[in-house]
């Protein structure tokens, strides 16, 4: 397996649009001399292509948001490569992301309230990126494009929605505006960080289905970040499971969730409410919480909680092993080769 491809068919000749390789982010923390480091993301590799949804799942603090923020350069990576359209953008755009990159990769945030400016109409907030990225020229063309975006995002009637202000919209409508705004620049990839977590349950599916439609009809690739495994299984072609900054298991979503191999993935899945299984049918097999990420000990981060821990787990991080056509994991129970 090519080392970078934790997820992705190694047989493909054409390279995927986005390739993340050995991404690392450490935040200096504590003390005047800041000697301690918080290992937020450690050796994360994956690929994301056009027309594909890849889910990044894991408990809070596992490094999901940091991963997305590294890709759009809200944070500078400590090390690693971000290959976009064949170029290592950390080398070609060393200081910050170029306008062209920002026009091709967009991010949507969890909070539909905080991510829109309260002082401007929805129409104005959609016009801005269209003008900056020159996706339409002339008053009439920009207007038409705004209406088209609103319609695409299911915000009807568009003329009326364009005149509204964020406070006049429901949470679900605001998240649709955030999606419309991301779409305004005609991106090829959208990184969506918990886009439905703060929405009421009955309107979440509408937003997820909208993302699915954009993937199908426009070939947009989505990185779907969530702590909700069921929605990842629903929406994503592939899923990556993160724990304490590491991707511990990855694969085709349904296969991964029906046949989880890593003890952490198994634990996580056994804890997801499943009314048909009942509360007592599957006991939780491990207690405890994510370990401290500040100067962590060597070895697998899950070792202290793992029901199947072995001596080597406590001093070396396992290598990536392939256990199925598109199913990878890092666990000493599955040595590579």
């Amino acid at each position: 397996m090519p080392e970078a491809q934790m997820v992705g068919s190694s047989l493909e000749v054409r390279r995927p649009l986005l390739e993340v390789r050995h991404l690392v982010k450490r935040f200096p923390v504590g003390g005047l001399f800041g000697k301690k480091q918080l290992h937020a993301v450690t050796d994360v590799s994956f690929t994301l292509d056009r027309g594909e949804v890849v889910a990044l799942v894991g408990e809070s603090g596992s490094g999901k948001s940091t991963t997305a923020r590294l890709i759009v350069r809200l944070y500078e990576p400590t090390s690693g490569e971000i290959i976009f359209d064949g170029k290592d953008i950390l080398k070609t755009e060393p200081r910050k992301a170029s306008l062209s990159f920002r026009g091709r990769v967009q991010m949507i945030f969890q909070d539909p309230f905080g991510s829109l400016s309260p002082n401007h109409s929805i129409g104005f907030q959609l016009e801005r990126p269209i003008r900056i990225h020159k996706r339409a020229r002339g008053e009439a063309a920009v207007r038409a494009k705004v209406y088209e975006l609103l319609e695409t995002a299911g915000l009807n009637p568009p003329e009326e929605m364009a005149r509204k202000y964020p406070f006049e919209l429901s949470g679900g409508q605001r998240q649709r505006v955030a999606i419309a705004r991301a779409l305004a620049v005609e991106p090829e990839i959208i990184l969506a960080d918990e886009p439905v977590s703060m929405l009421d349950v009955s309107i979440r599916m509408g937003v997820l289905n909208l993302m699915h439609r954009l993937k199908e009809e426009r070939g947009i690739g989505f990185l779907y970040i969530t702590h909700d495994l069921a929605s990842a299984r629903y929406l994503a072609d592939r899923t990556l499971v993160m724990y304490a900054g590491h991707v511990v298991e990855a694969g085709e979503s349904v296969d991964l969730m029906d046949n989880p191999q890593h003890p952490y993935t198994q634990l996580l899945l056994s804890a997801v409410p499943n009314p048909r299984a009942g509360l007592r049918t599957r006991e939780v097999q491990a207690r405890g919480e994510i370990p401290s990420l500040i100067n962590p000990p060597p070895g697998c981060p899950f070792a202290p909680r793992c029901p199947r821990v072995m001596p080597q787990c406590r001093h070396t991080m396992p290598e990536v092993a392939q256990v199925g056509p598109d199913h990878w994991l890092r666990c000493h129970l599955f040595p590579p080769g």
Partner: protein, 351 residues
């Protein structure tokens, strides 16, 4: 469970409004349900449908601008909303089974005793409400000593016992809240709610802010404690999968009203109200075939000015076009299974 026994708590035709300067918010409208002894009763619904308001009414902690504009709440036959007018004798006979206890001399004492020793509550995001500058041990012993005639040493011993019950090392009693994880803090809040051995525990979204592994662990523990001590639970959440897994019976709320009430397996396998069906279609499954789910179009109405008649009508996939001028009433469509949908099940006015 004996269905014919008097329920532990009986909510009858409850109405609550918040008087805001933009007008009254009709948060709870004609809500009736009863929780039996030893039962886990679930109250499910989206945010702002009135779940917490009902809980606060039961606990007698509603404050202005909230006003209870109608209805009764009976706890072991005692009128909770009229506790001020309840005599200590009546309270002793009905609630305490004739046993004499200290601290029910005045109505204020009586309400305070009802609030902790009979009905306790784990508030929404309670784990963040522990006093940050007070050690855990004192947060627990304070509650114990306020209500029980015990000294500090005995209170401390009981605090240690409570820590054991919720599975936390008793040395953690010396910690301050910020030194503990969210899961531990939530367990401590549960320990405090258990401290006086109440008959009813209200849990308002007790695990919403926690990760699934911690959530499952805590719910299993609550389930075990419930079976050990025999208290009832009023369990509130917007997560229907969790609710179905954890509850015996469930009431589904929409915009201040209960629209369906049935045993948990009936809610899951035979939902009758279109809103319940829509909610179920909002939770993709973690197993089985991957099928397209629709959720529910639109958004809940503003309770400042709710539509007349059926509040769900404009989002309803099954609306027949018939105008229902008044709010649809809950009726027993099949035994023990109630739904408030007059388009489909007509109106039972003879009741």
């Amino acid at each position: 469970m004996d269905d014919r026994s008097t329920p532990l708590i009986d909510i009858r035709n409850l109405y609550v409004e918040y008087l805001t300067n933009r007008g009254p918010v009709r948060a709870v409208e004609n809500v009736s349900f009863a929780v039996k002894s030893g039962e886990v009763f679930g109250l499910a619904g989206e945010s702002a449908c009135g779940k917490s308001t009902i809980a606060h009414a039961i606990l007698r902690v509603l404050r202005p601008p909230a006003v209870i504009t109608g209805g009764r709440i009976l706890y072991k036959g005692v009128d909770v909303l009229g506790l001020e007018r309840t005599s200590p004798e009546e309270y002793r006979n009905k609630v305490l089974g004739g046993v004499t206890r200290k601290g029910i001399g005045s109505s204020a004492e009586l309400i305070e005793r009802y609030r902790w020793a009979e009905v306790s509550m784990v508030f929404q995001s309670a784990m963040n409400s522990l006093n940050p500058v007070v050690k855990i041990v004192h947060q627990i012993t304070d509650v114990l000593m306020r209500h029980l005639d015990i000294d500090r040493a005995e209170a401390r011993r009981r605090a240690e016992e409570l820590m054991e019950i919720v599975n936390i090392d008793k040395r953690r009693l010396e910690a301050y809240p910020h030194q503990l994880s969210g899961g531990m803090r939530q367990r401590i809040v549960i320990a405090i709610a258990l401290a006086l051995r109440p008959s009813l525990m209200i849990m308002d979204e007790p695990t919403t802010a926690l990760d699934v592994v911690v959530q499952k662990d805590i719910l299993q523990q609550i389930d075990q404690l419930k079976r050990e001590y025999g208290f009832s639970i009023l369990f509130i959440t917007h997560d229907l999968s969790l609710m179905v897994e954890f509850s015996d019976r469930i009431a589904i709320m929409y915009a201040g009203e209960i629209v369906e009430l049935a045993p948990a397996n009936e809610i899951l396998n035979n939902p009758l109200h279109p809103y319940t069906k829509g909610l179920l279609a909002s939770f993709p499954s973690i197993t089985g075939e991957r099928v397209k789910m629709s959720g529910i179009p639109g958004a809940p109405p503003n309770l400042l000015n709710p539509p007349a008649g059926c509040r769900f009508r404009e989002r309803c996939a099954e609306w027949t076009g018939v105008d229902i001028p008044r709010s649809p009433q809950l009726q027993e469509v099949i035994p023990d299974h109630f739904a408030a949908c007059e388009c489909k099940y007509g109106r039972a006015d003879h009741a």
